[in-house]
Symmetry: C2
Subunit: 473 residues, 2 copies
């Protein structure tokens, strides 16, 4: 049975969703003021693996990732560059989808954007004021932290620590936080009962998650840097509003990606973008790297450790590819050896241990270690004397792992090789025709054919008596 | 929770395998004296769906299908045609794999052939004699039915009914059955303690199943025509030998395919081979047809009902294909409508009901009906105002169904369309080149290109000013 570490209770708990068949899952998404970097990628890959594993277990998952498209950093960038705030957001949303698609992160069911939910946010704030949890001051609206007695239960922050916070314009208490911010000159704004302004950061997640998931839901995730104040404030807003406790059953937080001594962050400037890193590494190597540690651990980035991960990933990939290649040849054996039967049960044992590792708070490093044990078995035993029994069982175990980790999928999506075969027959026919032209010294037609192929991503290298080709994907 | 109708207890029982994670599953396979017909196909597709569903539920399945390659019918055919018995067997094994591969029946882990397990069979018979359950007579060995007190528990056959059986050479009781048959002149034989001969039919399944699955296992399947005497005799042999009761925990039997008034059978002559039918219908249409009824029901074959199934299959296929085509276009919506949210839960409900139908003794007709309800929802609602939420959820539900039924897999294995796109670009380039030759009236080269394409399964139709192409797979 799946157990999840719950930040709210600070311990691993058996996972029981509110509705036994549906998991409502909300993850704090990007603030789209810049390109997606691999620190973001670690977070979204981690939650993608959780989602995949829940789906593997048979749950229906409703998965939502919000997009913060109006916020201080976006406005600052707009002022600095002269670009409209929504243009900056749009460009970075495109980059976000490019990055997450490359990393094989499954698309969420809904990506709510703040700027498209302003009306919902205003209504939410109005009710908080009405209920006495919030107050207006000089065109701003603040949440009154003292009005919510449970404040601090997620992050364990104390009243003493809160008192050290700085005063803000019109705040009753230094630690009260903004639900609505009055627009400064030249800032984008929406009209509201409190005058022109825009939502504070925290309120959007309370509003957009509950709009789609209801007043209680199962999992809320985000990076560990969001526990305080973002998620603490979300709880205060939502439990004050809905009076349902707990608003969220399981809080899951991921460890940061560390670059040098700090977390990777645009504001620190120690950033490697996904775009940059995927030009040097296969995105699946990066994905493997990002899940090679436990999701709650920090990952200290280094090229050296990434190269280790790359080698580890390719070791597994090669084993799968080798098994796939001999898959057709193994038939014609109509009995199984005792050794194969013994190996079969070893495969099953490793597969079960992989599942147990995932059941234990999504322990991907142990689960991947099991996959490496399987790979050793494949290399040492199965490929040396392949039998249908062991080859099929090993491929099945890899295919399941592929579904869970979102890795190696291409190996299992090849349409049984028919497409690949046809592609290579067609290219070879084209090259044979091109050879005719070359022999007749009709160079322009030969070059035209090469350039047409290049447009399709097929590179030719003309050798003395033959032409080699390669598909760049 | 999965419930299975158990022929042994005559009722639906909750499914609990002996080992909570492994399902040991043995199915009586073909006697390879002729081509695989659609009566056989109904049986193997039914068990394939059960295997897939067990795997979907997370079980490790060890799946075995035996091949009877030495038996009266094969010997008769050998005498009639002059071909060696093993040549007849080999040819029909090739046909069997062709047929089951076409129908997307997953390969078993082991296909034990009788002729490769003769030594195991002899040892098994020796022990049965030693334990007093079997006796030799005139070079034959018979199982003494009276020595096994539980005889009849599967088929409910009575002693009175048994007494009507005919005497055989050397039998003590008319209903005793052969474990070893003395070779007649010109018959193939193996040497044994009882002289040259060959195994009786029933003993092979007791020996080969327990060799690979142990002295107790979870599921034994076969057509309902095998309940008596084949499976009754298997139980007698195995429980006598192992003294483990029950030898097999769940007995599953499939209803026959009826052609005219009789079951489809080579000996009756009312046979349509898989080879024949797959030349007229897409194998997936046939597969759909074969699971459109409950596995325990008989299916009365008619072209008319097959055509209905074909239309039903294509209705679902089109919906999936349409969803896949718009999958990329739907992004750019950053909120979800209330209507989409409502439709999402309708999809989930249908998906859950599909699972419940499968949990209820693999009720494929109800499960497929749920898939049709989903398809109506797709056509009436989802495709008309597509949103990521509903399109993704519907595709996910279809993908799961595809895994369970073994249908529509191509729709989900397209490598995201890249291969298809490349194939069509390559063909179009070849046709453009061929057009150059045609304009220059170099007909022989143009014809050569067409014939090379034909070899790859690509058919051309030359129109006045362009050439159409079509891939025949």
């Amino acid at each position: 049975m799946l157990h999840i570490h719950n930040t709210l209770t600070k311990r691993k708990e058996p996972f029981k969703p509110l509705d036994s068949r549906i998991v409502k899952f909300y993850v704090c998404g990007p603030t789209v003021y810049d390109k997606t970097h691999i620190g973001h990628a670690k977070t979204y890959v981690a939650f993608d693996v959780m989602r995949r594993y829940l789906e593997f277990l048979g749950y229906n998952v409703l998965y939502i990732v919000n997009i913060t498209d109006i916020e201080d950093k976006i406005i600052m960038k707009s002022l600095k560059t002269g670009k409209e705030w929504h243009q900056i957001a749009d460009e970075n949303i495109v980059d976000f989808f490019n990055a997450t698609d490359k990393l094989n992160i499954k698309r969420a069911h809904i990506y709510p954007r703040v700027s498209e939910h302003i009306e919902d946010i205003i209504k939410f704030i109005e009710k908080l004021i009405e209920k006495g949890y919030a107050y207006e001051a000089e065109g701003n609206v603040y949440f009154s932290v003292d009005s919510f007695s449970d404040y601090g239960k997620l992050s364990n922050i104390t009243r003493e620590q809160l008192k050290t916070f700085e005063e803000g314009s019109g705040k009753r208490k230094p630690y009260d936080f903004a639900l609505w911010k009055k627009a400064k000159p030249n800032e984008p704004y929406w009209n509201s009962p409190w005058g022109p302004g825009r939502p504070g950061w925290h309120i959007e997640c309370s509003v957009m998650s509950s709009k789609y998931l209801g007043s209680q839901f199962d999992i809320h995730g985000g990076g560990e840097d969001l526990i305080f104040p973002h998620h603490e404030n979300e709880i205060a807003q939502s439990e004050a509003y809905f009076e349902t406790k707990p608003w969220v059953k399981y809080w899951i937080h991921t460890g940061m990606l560390i670059m040098g001594k700090d977390k990777m962050s645009k504001s620190i400037g120690n950033v490697i973008t996904v775009e940059e890193l995927t030009s040097k590494y296969d995105p699946m190597e990066i994905r493997y790297y990002l899940i090679s540690g436990h999701y709650r651990s920090q990952l200290v980035f280094s090229e050296e450790s990434l190269k280790h991960a790359k080698a580890a990933y390719n070791r597994i990939l090669n084993a799968i590819s080798n098994l796939n290649q001999i898959k057709e040849e193994i038939y014609g054996k109509y009995k199984a050896t005792d050794k194969a039967l013994k190996t079969f049960y070893e495969i099953i044992k490793l597969r079960n241990e992989l599942i147990e590792a995932m059941d234990d708070d999504f322990n991907t490093p142990i689960a991947l270690a099991k996959l490496h044990e399987l790979t050793s078995l494949v290399n040492k035993e199965i490929l040396k004397s392949p039998e249908p029994l062991t080859v099929l069982a090993a491929l099945k175990a890899y295919e399941e792992a592929s579904e869970i980790f979102g890795l190696f999928e291409k190996e299992f999506r090849k349409g049984e090789g028919r497409e690949e075969q046809l592609i290579s027959s067609l290219i070879n026919l084209i090259l044979a025709i091109r050879q005719k032209y070359r022999r007749r010294k009709e160079w322009s037609t030969a070059d035209w054919i090469a350039s047409e192929l290049r447009k399709m991503g097929i590179e030719l290298s003309d050798m003395k008596d033959k032409t080699l080709w390669r598909i760049k994907l």
